[in-house]
Amino acid sequence: MTTAGNAEPYLTIRPRSGWAALNLLEVWQFRDLLFSLAGRDLKLRYRQTALGAAWVILQPLMAAGIFSFVFGSVAKLPSHGVPRFLFTYAGLLAWNAFSSTLGRASTCLVGSSQLVSKVYFPRLVLPLSTLVSTFIDIAVAFAMMLVLMALYRQPLHWVILLLPVWMGLICCLAMGAGLYASALMVSYRDVGYIVPVLTQFLLYASPVAYALADVPAHLQSVYVLNPLCSLLEAFRGSILGMDFPAIGSLVYAAIVSILAFVIGAFAFRKMERRFADVI
């Protein structure tokens, strides 16, 4: 070896084993790429659509309309003192944050297989970049929420300041699951079929278009095992000034959500070294 006189190597490549550090510093160094990928997704999303970005507003409005009709007019569930449409819209707003974070994050690796197999970059950049689109969707839908509340003359409460907390926890939970699912999907495309089915199931198993109080009492203790349940209720409570779920169930949901994110991120890092070989 003729290494004499050489400085320390700039970089050493050797096999890793076991758990790896998240290395968020490196993700930060690639922040330009993260935002460019997000920008690309945004630019492409509504290309060649007649209504363009209007869909960001139309989609949740239409969904809320259908849910209000089915759960309010057909199933005749109560809306607990707030206008039915607002009740459903608020639930869907939080739900969409969860489902689009999960959906986008879980498919991002397989959808960018060409990038993964041909270029190096911290792989976490891909799922994290999907958050940008989701946040923009949420911001627009939230602005619409405020407009709706003005139309319905629904008063604002100071608890609305807690919204970012619930939103953050919901995204943590969804991102944790999404990271895990995306890494698994590299080897097992089955995950791509399971995630939408489970998401659909969760939509009905969580108090999105109905309230936890409408669930039969003996089932409620099972319901709150789903961390999304308390988070959705808390989210809606903060916007519309309704009752909050029990503090214990909120603490539980917060811990589960943060754990889900941490576990998901580390599992992703552990599995990522096989991505390029398998994808």
Binding site: T3, T12, I13, K43, Q114, L115, K118, V119, Y120, F121
Partner: protein, 440 residues
């Protein structure tokens, strides 16, 4: 490779690098879906038997700063795996690589190019994908655009670009990466002639700035011109390290064929041998002046009617140039009795442009069953220029496959003479341009 006199500075040190893949062994073949599902039902959790395949096996070499190093070896020798490890896309199974400088890699031109985005948007996205910061791209943007020559189309979605334009823009971005170590896979086989030359020039310039280039190509001419030194990989191991000329000689004289392990059996057909011979020697490198023979030894387990066997001749990029079957001119060969056969096809000399070609074997019954597809059994040949062919401009990339023998007749002619007689005045002739595909 420490013989470079100027400096003893290492750029890359590869120590004992190995990479293994597990591959599922030939699973029990199920003819029908039902059968496959039944098998799965009977043994739902049975793991498919797995083999370990060593793509790289204890690879060691050093590269000095400022070297331009070519990596040669046939398909499957581990070249791409090595580049992927060097560019951190995948990890080695064992060993260590020390890199003394920032690595930029270009394993494929235009990775991440999105057809719906405009040229400008793609320059930024692609640059960042290759590891540049936005500020760097801002700084280099004008140079990139000028290099690519597509100024007029910056605001046009790339899907409306010709393939040549897209490739030019993509390469221009990559050429302005400024890493200390540049890793380039076979990417120069694209674009038109003039652009090719500019790319080679750029790589040359990069190395003269004291940066290190690691380069993989199947094109021996490019390698010889660009890379003074090289690494020769064979079956995942370093076969030789040294001056490129020596490596190319070693590589071409090995007369190894590419890929397929014979015998291959399918249906009633068993292929025992499939190779290319010239002057009664098995060859991977063909002298372009002389004819060569494609030889297929096969066995039929039982009598077969409507049978045909033949080859597809394809360019390195996969375009079919010719297809020739045993029965093309001799329908009586369609009915063959069980037994051993040798089929030879004689291909005339001076037919192919110098370059790399693939021969794919095909065996089937007309319209009934295909036993061997040309992608399954292949061999690769490199055709060298015929003896008197003009090879003074080796960097020129020619996008053509068929060679026409010297049929040009060039004489002086008098422009005032309309009778067609040739006279003494010098006239300019239209340049004999190679048909460059995909030029914008």
């Amino acid at each position: 490779m420490s013989s470079k006199e100027s400096s003893g500075d290492l750029a890359v040190s590869v120590r004992g690098v190995s990479k293994s893949y597990t591959i599922a062994r030939n699973r029990t073949s199920h003819v029908t879906l039902t059968e496959a599902m039944l098998h799965r039902l009977r043994r739902p959790f049975a793991r498919e038997p797995q083999d370990t395949f060593w793509a790289l096996n204890d690879v060691n070499f050093d590269i000095q700063k400022g070297d331009v190093v070519g990596i040669i070896g046939r398909n499957g020798a581990g070249k791409s795996t090595l580049l992927k490890i060097l560019s951190r896309i995948t990890e080695p199974t064992a060993g260590q690589i020390d890199l003394f400088g920032r690595v930029g890699s270009l394993l494929e031109v235009g990775t991440g190019f999105h057809p719906e985005l405009t040229g400008r948007e793609n320059v930024y996205l692609n640059g960042q994908i290759l590891g540049m910061r936005k500020k760097e791209i801002d700084r280099e943007f004008d140079a990139i655009v000028e290099f690519s020559g597509v100024e007029a189309f910056l605001e046009t979605p790339v899907k409306r670009f010709s393939s040549g334009m897209a490739v030019r823009l993509a390469f221009a971005v990559a050429a302005h990466l400024n890493p200390e170590i540049l890793v380039v896979d076979e990417v120069l086989a694209v674009g038109d002639l003039q652009f090719q030359r500019r790319c080679l020039g750029k790589l040359d310039e990069v190395s003269r700035q004291g940066r290190t280039v690691i380069f993989v190509s199947h094109d021996m001419r490019t390698l010889r011109n660009l890379c003074p030194r090289g690494v020769y990989l064979r079956d995942g191991c370093v076969a030789a390290v040294g001056p490129m000329e020596d490596l190319i000689r070693a590589y071409t004289s090995e007369q190894e064929h590419d890929g397929t392990r014979l015998p291959v059996a399918s249906g009633p057909v068993m292929i025992r041998r499939f190779d290319v011979r010239q002057s009664d020697e098995r060859r991977a490198v063909i002298d372009g002046s002389d004819p060569f023979e494609v030889t297929v030894d096969f066995e039929l387990i039982h009598d077969v009617n409507l049978f045909r066997l033949g080859i597809y001749l394809k360019t390195a990029l996969g375009d079919t140039i010719a297809r020739s079957f045993t029965t093309d001119w001799r329908p009586e060969l369609e009915d063959l009795a069980a037994g051993h056969y040798r089929a030879t096809l004689s291909v005339p000399g001076c037919l192919l442009m110098p370059g790399v070609y693939r021969l794919g074997l095909h065996a089937s019954r007309y319209g009934i069953d295909t036993y061997i597809r040309d992608a399954d059994v292949q061999c690769e040949i490199t055709v060298m220029p015929p003896a008197s062919y003009n090879t003074a401009h080796p960097a020129e990339h020619v996008d053509a496959a068929v060679l026409l023998r010297d049929g040009w007749n060039v004489k002086r002619r008098n422009p005032d003479d309309t009778s067609g007689n040739t006279q003494r005045h010098q006239t300019t002739f239209p340049a004999i341009a190679a048909p460059a595909a995909g030029v914008g």
